[in-house]
Subunit: 804 residues, 2 copies
Amino acid sequence: MESMMIYMPIVMAVLGLIYMWIKKSWVMKQDAGDGKMKEISDHIYEGALAFLSAEYRLLAIFVVIVSIALASVSFIVPTTHILIVVAFIFGAFFSALAGNIGMKIATKTNVRTTQAARTSLPNALKISFGGGTVMGLGVAGLAVLGLTAFFIGFFHFFMGGVWTNTMDMTIVLETLAGFSLGAESIALFARVGGGIYTKAADVGADLVGKVEAGIPEDDPRNPATIADNVGDNVGDVAGMGADLFGSYVATVLAAMVLGNYVIKDMGGSISDAFGGIGPILLPMAIAGVGIIISIIGTMLVKISNNDAKESQVMGALNKGNITAIILVAISCYGLVTWMLPETMKMEFFGEGLQEISSMRVFYATLVGLIVGGVISAVTEYYTGLGKSPILKIVQQSSTGAGTNIIAGLATGMISTFPSVLLFAGAIWASYAFAGFYGVALAASAMMATTAMQLAIDAFGPISDNAGGIAEMSEQEPIVRERTDILDSVGNTTAATGKGFAIASAALTSLALFAAYVTFTGIDGINIFKAPVLAMLFVGGMVPVVFSALAMNAVGKAAMEMVQEVRRQFRDIPGIMEGTGKPEYDKCVAISTKASLKEMMLPGLLTIGFPLIIAFLPLAFGMEKLAIAEMLGGYMAGVTVSGVLWAIFQNNAGGAWDNAKKSFEAGVEINGEMTYKGSEAHKAAVTGDTVGDPFKDTSGPSMNILIKLTCLIGLVIAPILGGHTDAKPHGEEIKKEVKVEIKQTSGELAMATITTFKIVDGKKTSEIEKIEGTIAEIEKKAKEAGTIVSVNVLKNENEIIESKQ
Amino acid sequence: MESMMIYMPIVMAVLGLIYMWIKKSWVMKQDAGDGKMKEISDHIYEGALAFLSAEYRLLAIFVVIVSIALASVSFIVPTTHILIVVAFIFGAFFSALAGNIGMKIATKTNVRTTQAARTSLPNALKISFGGGTVMGLGVAGLAVLGLTAFFIGFFHFFMGGVWTNTMDMTIVLETLAGFSLGAESIALFARVGGGIYTKAADVGADLVGKVEAGIPEDDPRNPATIADNVGDNVGDVAGMGADLFGSYVATVLAAMVLGNYVIKDMGGSISDAFGGIGPILLPMAIAGVGIIISIIGTMLVKISNNDAKESQVMGALNKGNITAIILVAISCYGLVTWMLPETMKMEFFGEGLQEISSMRVFYATLVGLIVGGVISAVTEYYTGLGKSPILKIVQQSSTGAGTNIIAGLATGMISTFPSVLLFAGAIWASYAFAGFYGVALAASAMMATTAMQLAIDAFGPISDNAGGIAEMSEQEPIVRERTDILDSVGNTTAATGKGFAIASAALTSLALFAAYVTFTGIDGINIFKAPVLAMLFVGGMVPVVFSALAMNAVGKAAMEMVQEVRRQFRDIPGIMEGTGKPEYDKCVAISTKASLKEMMLPGLLTIGFPLIIAFLPLAFGMEKLAIAEMLGGYMAGVTVSGVLWAIFQNNAGGAWDNAKKSFEAGVEINGEMTYKGSEAHKAAVTGDTVGDPFKDTSGPSMNILIKLTCLIGLVIAPILGGHTDAKPHGEEIKKEVKVEIKQTSGELAMATITTFKIVDGKKTSEIEKIEGTIAEIEKKAKEAGTIVSVNVLKNENEIIESKQ
């Protein structure tokens, strides 16, 4: 049975996809409501599809260009195989497909949720969360299916399906990196483009509709309202899905790469029941089991009380989530002890080989699960309604927008403190338990419940849309109240989901970073070398500039939207009275076009910088390993700075948002109850305007930026010196021979041949004395290894000739 | 003459201080105006002194505590000498003294500038810039005097005033680091405390005075107006002075440390006309000459036209500044070629020893001068009135505070792009020219004109104060117009001065970082080790949290001020009619108390984190060099993130400020001229409120944070493993002996002793054969070096006993 383990993740993935299909059919069978509701929903669906197809057309061009580039490289560099192009294309395709599935189901579920909310809250939750489940399983199922299938394919292609050596496996995994690169590239554009789309529509709709025309949110008279609702799906559903799809694939891949290095550290091969690739299969197995666990988790999410409040809905979600996490911990224990050798050897940088028991790998997975849980709690603390940081921002709103903004910025900045200490602790602990393999498995364990996390994430925007449809189709107030409960819970899960996405991106990047160092075979990344330090600075700068570009993009796109909405209000007769029909599609087209245009520059920055750092010095003849180290410094700079700016922007944005929302129920400021419409509330609205691009555009993009940077590094790695260090540990890697010749007679000589063997850094020596002609001695010495010195003695004490 | 070179910098420093004294007497002799003006000026003077004496009382306690800590360490750790305590106390004292001189002259010059502005603009410039010159020369003179005097003292104490070896010199410089630590500690509190003071007073005065009561800025009826004017001196004069005093000392010190390592790389001693310490003296000589050059530069700053505009005043400043920079370049050429050996050997990490001509060191100094110039231009571009980024922010103000804030944030973020590329290029280039010695000398050359930079910087707040006094004492409008011209130029120089301060802090920190690595003797800082990487993350987080604490501190202190001003308006009868006298001193006391209280936490964060990272693992028995590497990772994290956040915050703050100022002359938005009082202007005022703590509190504090972090590392370095690698290059650093014993007869044995010498990483061997007793052989082998293996042969081919 064990030998079939390689197919287990595929089976799990297919089971997940079947369950997804069943769930999808169930959702689609639900009542989609009456004429007006359906009409609005169709508008949203068509808008979303219009964006997707425009985006995919553009991305197809991108995929073709990158494929050609990758193919050219694979012809020039012998260590890169053309199959990487195939993997890349499929990675991009699968990512797009997952986004497509998620977006379609989300836009179909929204109206069904509204309809269900007309009857009961439990039903509405069942349907909206059902849509989220479809999305989650689609992403996770396709990720595991694609990655595992390509791994099996390459394993058979390059190695004939049996273990040969770590170097061949390195080629398998390097080629597999193409799949991850494809997935992450699509994710970049989906996240950035989606983020720009959703905020351009949101800001544009609010500025003219709410502020200038004084009509409520989601009012059907606002031409940008459909674009706004499409944006929720484009940004929060498709963007988040692509992000986690990329993280999922990259994490598992990085863990596989590091698993291969565990085998290398153990002498180049191990014998286990899994064809000698247990450590490589383990991360895939965890991912596969995680799909089944996520299905169980989603089944637990339900409420029965029609009068349930936010806390009960949240409780239902938490029940499913916590159960899933506990089940993952249990399965990690089982899988780790079953699939790994009881003790392994791992190379610890600067400390040499160490014996590691499989239990320590299990502890590392626990570290990952704990980080995933704690980071959500930390995010919840800094951004949650009623928590002390939010109350402080509310207080500071009383003295105007300026102090509100300062308080929000400071909250986001302070929130980096516990988050970074948590990550630093996690890096340290999981590394101490099981090296970088431990770090990667910590990430894998955390990501195992991706399907569950996504289900929780996606149900938020679905409920938000459902509320919008209720408003636009003028339903009874009770319907909106019910969807509002779901929406409010969705806002909290959106914030904690962002925390989860950052944590996963941070750990994934570290694992990729470690894989990069091992791929290139460099000695590490020494920032005491000035060029490496310079690149650390440059890397640190990129997330900051990327964020600025994303924010400016939102500003520009929103301005175009504002002008179009103003034009429609001016030019379409009867629009304000509800007799003239707004041209929704024009606003959708503006958001679509602007977001696709504006995502180019940040994308170029992300992809261009590592390529310039790698290839410019190469063109000037710089040494490859030195370049590899510089690129490593750049990657570290992007990761550290990117994680900081991700936490800062997401939490500041989340905090402003909820500070503003606090006014809806009323807040006490200096002893007075203050509500919507007050000066303090206006200040809070300004804060939220700043926070919008922070939390929905630039902040979440940081995840992709750091992952994609590390992935590009990984794909470039073979060009920069891969395989130079691909000798397995435990083998003799150096044999030095010293020859000492005593001139005994004219023809014949006495010689001492000392052979020093260097195995794993340890030197042992062997001495052989022979008598023969100089030629015979030379031949014998050459057979023994590399001759490093030849001494010819005149007499016992004097050297007459010495070659080093 | 050359042998007396060691005293040259002292002579220059004394000359600078004499000139300062003459200039000061001249300023003090100027007319201080009539009764009301004098009264206001005295209020400001007393407020400033009150803050200083309160601050110094607090800092005295801090100095005592740190001195005791340092003294205890010097008793426990043999490589640290008790004299470091003396150096520390004097460093703190000199820094405080320099701040005191600057503050006193600034608060005396302001009223004299107002009085001079009543007659002519050229006179007003002459006096205000004269005050700035006193400040600049006081700081630079005391810095060079103190550092050089202590160096000479320690050089005689530890080495008898003659060159012995690099290890002794290391002890001299390690002890000298105490002086720098003292200076930088005071700078931290001066910058942070001053920054909180000035913004608390400013925001407090504006919120109640301008916004609530509707009275103009600097109105004498506002109780916080004196505190506001005191704040300009406390923050912009004393804070900036202490910052640059610290940078100056730290830069020269770091260059001296690296000069010592040049001597080490050249074989442990050189013979030159400067007692063999030319490379160590050079940075001090550049600093000394820089003082004289700065005096020349300040003499060139004058205008003759009474109707001169901003551009002519700016032109006069530029003339002096550019002349000074060119003169420094010329003197660097002279000093470098005179004081350094024509070719030197320098160790390049990972590349071994390289021959470096002295001309390459000169090129490195040019890099520093260019960076200083270019960073000012970059800062001017992103924050200057009429420049495109400012115009964009102005445009975005038309849609409200939210878009204004987003545009300002994005401008600050984007500005990191050219700045960081410039720094990265400078690191790379100066290192490529002359290793880390080159980086340190680049910083030294840039800092040579510190006196001139400070004169230009300090004249701004003096003119600002002069304008305030003109307003409060109700002078003719022409007086305020003249001081406004000076103030406006001062705003520009304040922004470019901040750019200069960041650049100097960045290069200084790198030099200190390099000095740290050489002090500890670690192999470099490898971020592929997980604990080092974790510390890189933690270090990256600290500047973000520090900034948040500083911003929150301003918010808290401003709130207290608001309440006090409101109370006075309410309780003091006739205050609004000008008949009741506001209690200025109460507002001064609030700012003083709040700023001193609030600077504690950021201070603790800065000093506490490196100590925890060093001593906590030490207490748990972690290996010292591993800790040193972790601390190095932390330092790198703080530096990279600190530089980014400094640029971001300073430039965003400067941009908002000037976007707001643009409305004073009127700006065109969507084709319409818009002025003060418009909605767009109100949005811009909100942006400026956010920018105030950015550019005057948290932003400038980053400089001190990164320098002090690296200095603390440097002082801790000897504890973490200093001197382990203090052997000079070119000497034999390892002798390995292998013994092979042939049992020839009962008593006597034949043995081959192979001695491997490892010199600069190269291995050579020598073989000696002897016959004697085992004891004799052993003795002989021990004399030869460290015995690494003993083989006892049974017969020719078989080893019967082998010890490794």
